[in-house]
């Protein structure tokens, strides 16, 4: 334990060197010029559309006629729209239902897989394979898995209509989501555990801590920064869900999530202003949730 404290002190005690004005070299200019294409593309395809969404949210715009300023009408409509309300609830259900278990499972697996054992690399690879596969490809495969006569029902001797009932379709998406996303967080937790000094565990062992105590008193607190990042990413990924809902249910049976609602509003109904208003609301919601998460996970050891 002493070692950790000493390290912490040394790291936090190392102050920043006084700022010095640095000369701009020709090499810097070349670097800047080389990065210009990427920056231009990013500005044109990401920053500009992002800012335009805020602007369009105040207009009635159908793509074919000039935008007409409507003030906050789009937001007022959404506040009273049962379909939008349901889409938000569906997104919350999918996010919590998928990512809470996925995070817990990933953490448990990371602790189990951190030991260097023969063949463990392959096991880790297996967990990561779903992450590296596209959502669409996986969703197509899971459509077969979730068929009434599919793998899931056959394996567990179930008689569940996973994709054609409002009571089960949302759970089907959650099950598939957990399977797909656990590997992503597993890799992050494994990276966090790899950076953790072995001495702290040895010290806890010497102090007589059992495995449960070592996890809760040593491992979990030291993984707090990684857990914070994972939870922020989880919420963002959850609210950005789109492809599995499109492929598996098309948004039917109470699985129309916010992104799918935005897509349909914008491109099927050509209501760009209203779709932009939803995007603005989601942006604000995600910023707020992220700030709350970072506050909850705020470091208390400094």
């Amino acid at each position: 334990m002493t070692t950790t404290t000493a390290r912490t002190v040394r790291v936090s005690g190392s102050g920043r060197a006084p700022a010095r004005r640095r000369r701009v070299h020709g090499r810097d200019l070349v670097g800047a010029a080389l990065s210009l294409p990427a920056l231009l593309l990013f500005a044109f395809f990401a920053i500009y559309p992002g800012l335009r969404v805020f602007y369009l949210s105040l207009f009635d715009y159908s793509l074919t006629a000039p935008p007409e300023f409507v003030g906050l009408d789009n937001f007022r409509f959404l506040a009273e729209d049962p379909r939008f309300r349901q889409a938000v609830l569906n997104s919350v259900f999918y996010t919590v239902g998928t990512y809470l278990p996925a995070l817990a499972l990933a953490l448990a697996l990371a602790v189990a897989l951190r030991r260097k054992t023969r063949g463990l690399g392959w096991v880790r690879l297996l967990y990561f394979l779903p992450v590296a596969t596209s959502w669409v490809a996986i969703s197509v495969v899971w459509r077969l898995v979730l068929h009434p006569d599919g793998l899931l029902n056959e394996t567990f001797h179930l008689d569940v209509n996973w994709l054609t009932s409002s009571s089960t379709a949302r759970w089907a998406l959650v099950i598939m989501g957990i399977w797909k996303e656990t590997g992503f967080f597993l890799i992050l937790f494994l990276a966090g555990l790899a950076r953790m000094p072995e001495e702290v565990h040895e010290a806890a062992l010497v102090d007589g801590a059992n495995p449960w105590q070592r996890f809760w008193r040593v491992t979990f607190p030291l993984l707090k920064p990684i857990t914070a990042i994972c939870s922020v990413i989880a919420v963002i990924r959850g609210f950005q869900a789109f492809s599995p809902q499109v492929v598996l249910t098309g948004g039917a049976f109470d699985t129309e999530v916010v992104n799918l609602f935005v897509y349909k509003t914008a491109f099927e109904s050509a209501r760009m202003g209203r779709a932009s208003a939803v995007a603005v609301l989601m942006f604000a919601l995600l910023i707020a949730v992220t700030l709350v998460q970072l506050r909850v996970f705020r470091r208390t050891d400094t």
Partner: protein, 435 residues
Amino acid sequence: MTTHRHRRRFMAFVLAAAVAGTGALAACGGDDEGGDGNVTLTFWTHTHPPMIELNKTLIAEYQSKNPNVKIEYQQVPNTEFATKMLTSLSTGAGPDIINMDDNALRGEYFPKRLLSPVDPAGFGKSSVAEVEAEYVPGTLDGAKDAEGKLYGVPSEFNGTAFAINTKHFKDAGLDPATPPKTWQEVIDYGKKLNAAGHKQAFNFLYLHSGWYNQWFQTLANQTGGSILSADGKTAALNSPGSKKALELWVELARTSGIADPKTSSRDATAPYQDLASGTQSMAIVYPWSMDQIKESNPETYKDLAVVPLPQADATAQPVSRVYGYFWAVNAASKRKAEAWKFIAYLASARDRWLTDVSFVQPVKGWDTSAAAKQIPFIDVIAQAYANGRYDQVGPHWNEVQDTIHKAVDQAVFDGKPVDQVLNEANEAVQRSIGS
């Protein structure tokens, strides 16, 4: 040495700037129209294999007769066809020539002024009236806007009929020569088919919102229901006729037990899989459905018979549903005259559309032509046209179709009361058309 290094840095800077410039230019794109008299036309359709084949053949013929014209033909998967086409045309892009159904044309394309009116010169006529005079009266209504202006000619005109598997009927001791005339008879026959081991006696196709909407309107036509009021300004899903239509759907699909809708194939890229594979005994069909089954499952096709669409009330005048796909020209096209000439060529191959793809071009006398006489069941299809009517369409129709989709799912799959789901749907439709 220092000068050399500076020069090298300068050259590197210039190179980097050039790369940046190229990237920016690449993002802008350009117009590929040449000034040498050559014309390139772009043409998009949905995916229906027999149709694609004939389109390719006709394109090759047209290009060989018109060496200065090149047709770039693209097929868009059915699941993304509507969205991709509407978005591309709305942004001033998209193909020169589109092939689209009348629901989308009247619901989205005409109100948004995305299409160019028919150019009679392309057909070698001096007026649109002359073009119209070739077609059976009323069949072009699906391509006319509220003012009656014509925007396209039909690539296919579909009437609704009913297919029965005669082998299944014989298995159940039923006479294929006396097919069901009412939906109640469909249920009665279905129970006998079930008893003979054919568990999927009758199913609707639950593919996407457009399909849900077409089934609903097929039934509502017969029960006196509608989605909107006659003036199109208010939702009418809670009317007695609309309620009867959904109750009939629920009875056919759920309460009668003659099939399990949950096991129905839901792959929009290949409709009618269950009927084609011989799993399903009865289905609502269109002329093209039969042609598709003939190609994919010729063995099952031999056992199928096409009969008139069952009715809700045997004593009432039969009512059917018609719809059409139309060739039309993008309002943003810079090659409209050439596009209409090509469309006129496609439309002139009416006999081949009928014999090769079972697409009816509803020109006067089509049903007595030599090509029509080669098509089995054509008398049934012709009868369906005679008592058919186009779907009701209103503003923001995609949202309305989504609402119908949800209401049917709730009533048929979740078992919610018809009254409740239709009242909720009625409010949703009113919100869509009123905002």
